[in-house]
Symmetry: C2
Subunit: 380 residues, 2 copies
């Protein structure tokens, strides 16, 4: 192992941890908060709840909610202008991956200037960002933990990966109470996003002992708790999905991802497909593709999924991938690409973009455009 | 689970990670560094090596090395005066637990004023500390990860626990190269300190899923690698001890410790016994004492130590404790209190102090002075 880095935000986790917002903002020097969220959370009353806490803590605040499910460069630039006009000094984000990635983009442009596409790729951010306090309302994106921001470039129709340690928020306040108000499909899509983070980070060429243990814990927690969480919406099972999402975030933020996410980013940019819907389609095929490059690790994943070990790593791994497909099929979710994309002719274009994504660099097996196409055709 | 917090420094880990020192100091705004280390590391040439790196990065530096194996309040106050006289802006510590705890104390007094005993206990630090970059040279103390500083109050002859999130350094640079230059006894004592952190944090009343996975990994790595590391001093096995120490640090920093450490702190303050020598004596007895309060967790520890599970949790746990005693006895280290302390009559005084230590608050079983005495008598 070469030198490895492990950086995460301070995590405050648990039922009613939202009560810590005021003190957290204060000790980060907040006087004028920019609060980023979305209309759905506004309708559900959560934005008002947060604003009340900021009022109680005696803070000025301004609210920005222009965000789509794949956040766009234009939204970031409008948000950054708003941040400046309000003379804000801290960014608080409430929501799933989209408002959080939007908030990262706003904090970046507000402090470093320029256009968001200037920062595409790894380690291109020069100046410190304002303090960021993130409150995830879904259990999956990991945006509250990670050094990634994923933003759609509207002109090029591509999801850019922006990667920098400075994009790790200062504090992540994770309150599983939010999950009880979420629809089934969102709980499933988010948890499977977390699962795909965990799997891809585990086999990444940048995986370290620090990220590997987080990956394995996350895989175990999603497999063992998602069905019960969807069925019962018990706080206990939903909390376990939150822990999984957080652990997976710690893993992928520091080990990066692989070709499943490279294709998912391309699909999100080109077709605006919701990120969480892509993984049940792609992940098993990507795992089969990667198996030859990391049979021991794939066998470990297989053993966690099935609680069984067969006579060879390959058999254990394949049995795990089949069990994962069974798991997805029991969840009543789309499992073919044709259910997400209406035109098979677009596959070459999708794969053109995918092989340029930063996530392919850390995939355990090197991947060509033809490999990508074969994966997409296999799951069509 | 109530609200739980998990905060760790940014970790840079691996062979030659020391090369990151200059850039790390720069991005923490360092212009004038206070470097804290000890005469042993100076003799070994490591201090010079660090100073060269600071010179190359164009930084002023001043060096402070007045530290004993249980760092003292007077050393901290002298160090803080030196920090101020040098107008330093960053603290870099190189060493085992003692120089790092000394450095935390200096950073604390330099920024918050007063005397170190004013901060004894949890969460009594009001103002931010200067940036701290720590470079551990042993694999055990976890001081480079933790929110603890343990300092001897010379007047009262007591080791004070000072606990605050602000005592977590900004960056921990962990280079296993250092361990190859260390004597066997130090590698053993440090690794067993890490093991005791992992065990006590795992059964702590503040343990969370985030700390538990770190504890279990650390226990496994020490048990599986310490003997080989001592025998071969291979970088691979020493690296695994470094990973164990780091993981155990993440665990105990956030979950705290128990009665083994409470007694160890008392012994360190009263008799200046080296911290790492106390745990092989106390830990198995403390585990037996705690077993009734957490049989499932003790069984999990037992399973990791022995790779076996028996028909009841109690049996699995007891088998694990016996195997741990076998493990210690193979290491040729002191296993009776009489080998560390020359006067059995002091046990009541030691236990008087131990039950006042902050670590007893998180022990899984409530513990009286009489319980402490029984443990000390059992291992005399």
């Amino acid at each position: 192992m070469d030198v490895t880095k492990f950086a995460i935000p301070e995590v405050i986790f648990g039922k009613n941890s939202l009560d810590y917002l005021g003190p957290c903002a204060q000790r980060n020097g907040a006087k004028r908060v920019l609060l980023v969220s979305d209309p759905g959370l506004e309708d559900a009353g959560w934005v008002e709840c947060l604003v009340d806490k900021l009022d109680q803590a005696g803070m000025h605040w301004a609210y920005f909610s222009d965000v789509s499910s794949n956040p766009r460069d234009s939204q970031i630039h409008r948000g950054a202008e708003f941040y400046a006009s309000q003379r804000a000094d801290v960014v608080i984000a409430l929501g799933g991956g989209s408002p959080m990635d939007l908030a990262k983009g706003i904090a970046l442009i507000a402090s470093n200037g320029g256009r968001i596409r200037d920062y595409e790729g790894a380690n291109r951010i020069q100046y410190p960002l304002p303090p960021m306090i993130f409150i995830p309302t879904t259990a999956g994106s990991g945006a509250d933990i990670s050094q990634f921001a994923i933003v759609t470039d509207e002109e090029r129709k591509v999801k850019m990966s922006i990667i920098s340690r400075t994009l790790v928020p200062n504090i992540s306040i994770i309150d599983p109470n939010f999950l009880q108000t979420k629809p089934e499909w969102l709980i499933k899509a988010s948890a499977i996003d977390a699962l795909s983070h965990a799997v891809e980070a585990y086999v990444s060429v940048l995986a370290s002992p620090f990220t590997e243990m987080q990956s394995l814990k996350a895989i175990e927690l999603v497999i063992k708790n998602l069905e019960e969480a969807v069925r019962t919406k018990s706080l206990q099972s939903l909390s376990k999905l939150s822990i999984a999402s957080t652990a997976a975030g710690m893993a992928f933020s520091n080990a990066s991802l692989g070709v499943d996410h490279a294709i998912a980013h391309s699909l999100g940019g080109e077709f605006d497909v919701m990120h969480g819907h892509v993984h049940p389609v792609l992940l098993p095929a990507v795992m089969r593709f990667n198996l030859q490059a990391c049979p021991e690790k794939m066998a470990m994943i297989g053993e966690i999924i099935t609680d069984e070990r067969l006579s060879t790593d390959e058999d254990t791994a394949m049995r795990g991938i089949e069990a994962l497909e069974d798991f997805f099929s029991r969840l009543d979710i789309a499992m073919n690409l044709a259910e997400l994309v209406d035109d098979r002719q677009k596959i070459p274009d999708i794969c053109d973009l995918a092989v340029k994504d930063a996530c392919v660099l850390t995939n355990p097996r090197s991947v060509s455009k033809e490999d990508c196409q074969a994966i997409c055709e296999e799951v069509w």
